[in-house]
């Protein structure tokens, strides 16, 4: 479902019925959606009449899938139904509330399972951290299949605030987006940095009044503070907050940036722990350190990955003090106690806030006949994804067929925009592809 009032009704209805919701990206390739439907053994599909044609076609191939909402009448008559005729189960805090799928390094998307307890723990913490009140109007920029959406979907209602759904088209046109921020008198903004940079660069802010904003919160990847300096001129009351936390644990650190921070710093620190989270840094040997992998312990932690005990084993660290989640993020503690993000310990990258495992891109490309090996890398200056591909002599796929295959199996944001064919890969002493050397070749600007 695209964003609509109906989609929120569906989310809450599914949970009220004692089921878990699995938000599907209507723009995701069909094969990827099918994989998720099969893997989760989904029993029902809630759809919007606007996308009924495609959804019905899709559901036809999935025998046991019941489809709701294809007719406009279904939604129009919902309010007239007597809610008392059905007895609703009372979910236990440990029951599953939702599963969000994210990039998985094996080539199969990973389902992050959150319970009513973990989802609510995050919502209550966020509502309190940002002092949300019934007077607030939250702009929901993130699509529902993206974990950041739980801020407006759960934390807003917990505080009695109003959440304003931002339609997909507005999210793509900054000048329309800024119109909406003004017309809806949004007081709280939460998005990936890319959306903020778009608002500043193309949002025609000089002609808009966005002065009702009191919080501008961003997360998903580092932001350049010059965008905040520019935004502050149009939103003089706004405070700025850097939010950090993988979808597995929800937001677990925050840094409220002062006017001085925005003026003096190029990048903002991750800050310190949210009230419901404990953090620690460990070195290679698992010993506490001031520079190392960030581990998180919080009530807002996922129950585990859907159907993958092996993936759970890789990220959970069981100790006497309880269960910790390994973020895979390399972090340093500054003398003042603030945490600073240094990079990833694995090959996960963020492009415009989207989390991508480069291994997943490579695994998908390597499935195609005639591909010997593939290596994905980010062209940093343009924030685009490139794929180096080695094909069989005289019998390999063209860039066009690689592009088509990726388009069928990967979300749009994870499809390489450039294919570079190579006869051989540089190798490290141990025979692995020398990714650092390949990445270096991308440093020269695009011709």
């Amino acid at each position: 479902m695209f964003k609509s009032l109906e989609s929120v009704i569906a989310l809450y209805g599914i949970m009220k019925a004692g089921c878990a919701y699995v938000p599907l990206d209507p723009n995701a390739p069909e094969d990827r959606l099918k994989r998720i439907v099969a893997e989760c053994r989904l029993s029902g599909l809630a759809i919007h009449p606007a996308t009924a044609k495609r959804a019905n076609l899709f559901a036809q191939g999935e025998g046991s899938l019941a489809v709701f909402g294809a007719e406009a009448e279904f939604w129009e008559t919902l309010g007239a139904r007597d809610a008392n005729v059905v007895s609703l189960p009372t979910p236990s805090p440990t029951d599953l509330a939702y599963i969000m799928f994210t990039s998985g390094s094996t080539g199969t998307p990973k389902g992050i399972q959150h319970t009513h307890h973990s989802g609510l723990a995050y919502a209550r913490m966020a509502a309190s951290l940002y002092g949300l009140t019934p007077d607030d109007r939250l702009g929901n920029h993130s699509p529902f299949h993206f974990d950041m959406s739980t801020f407006e979907v759960f934390a807003g209602p917990v505080a009695g605030a109003c959440s304003v759904l931002i339609p997909e088209a507005h999210a793509r046109l900054p000048a329309s987006l800024s119109q909406l921020v003004e017309a809806e008198k949004l007081t709280v903004w939460y998005s990936v940095p890319f959306a903020i940079s778009q608002l500043v660069d193309h949002g025609a802010l000089a002609q808009r009044n966005i002065s009702a904003l009191r919080w501008v919160i961003f997360g998903g990847e580092p932001i350049q503070t010059r965008y905040l300096r520019a935004l502050a001129k149009h939103a003089p009351r706004a405070r700025f907050s850097n939010s950090y936390g993988p979808a597995e644990v929800n937001q677990c650190t925050y840094f409220h940036a002062s006017a001085q921070d925005i003026e003096l710093l190029e990048k903002l620190p991750l800050g310190g722990p949210c009230p419901h989270a404990e953090l620690k840094l460990v070195d290679h040997d698992g010993q506490d350190a001031d520079r190392g992998e960030l581990l998180v312990k919080t009530e807002a932690m996922m129950r585990g990955y859907w159907g993958s005990a092996q993936a759970d084993g890789e990220v959970f660290c069981e100790e006497r003090s309880g269960r910790w989640y390994r973020t895979g993020d390399l972090v340093e503690r500054q003398p003042g106690g603030e945490l600073v993000f240094l990079g990833r310990l694995d090959r996960q990258v963020k492009l415009r806030g989207h989390r991508i495992e480069l291994e997943e891109v490579e695994a998908v490309l390597s499935e195609l006949n005639g591909v010997v090996d593939a290596c994905a890398a980010v062209r940093a200056d343009q924030a685009t994804l490139c794929a180096f591909v080695q094909i069989e002599d005289g019998d390999g796929p063209s860039a066009q067929s690689l592009r088509a295959y990726a388009g069928k199996h990967l979300p749009r944001y994870a499809c390489p925009s450039e294919y570079i064919f190579t006869d051989t890969f540089p190798r490290t002493a141990s025979g692995k592809i020398d990714r650092a050397a390949l990445a270096k070749t991308l440093e020269a600007p695009c011709p």
Partner: protein, 77 residues
């Protein structure tokens, strides 16, 4: 519609996909925010006009028909 601009949308941005004149190009994500920026740059270059940021709104860019109507207002001036 200026044929060069029509081609740019259908071939370069939509990869040759067939679309109706009134089909919503933004909702379905067929054109994302970077696509819109590329289109604006192409229009400016091809027609030698400036498209101010406040003009890049849904009403003008939602569909092929909307883009055509907007370009007409711009080239008649």
């Amino acid at each position: 519609m200026n044929p060069q601009i029509g081609d740019f949308i259908t071939q370069t941005l939509l990869g040759g996909a067939e679309v109706e004149d009134t089909e919503d190009l933004l909702l379905s994500g067929q054109i994302d925010s970077l696509g819109v920026m590329r289109l604006v740059a192409f229009i400016e270059q091809t027609l030698s006009i400036t498209v101010p940021p406040e003009d890049v709104v849904i009403e003008h860019f939602q569909s092929l028909a909307a883009i055509e109507a907007y370009l007409e207002t711009r080239t008649m001036r």
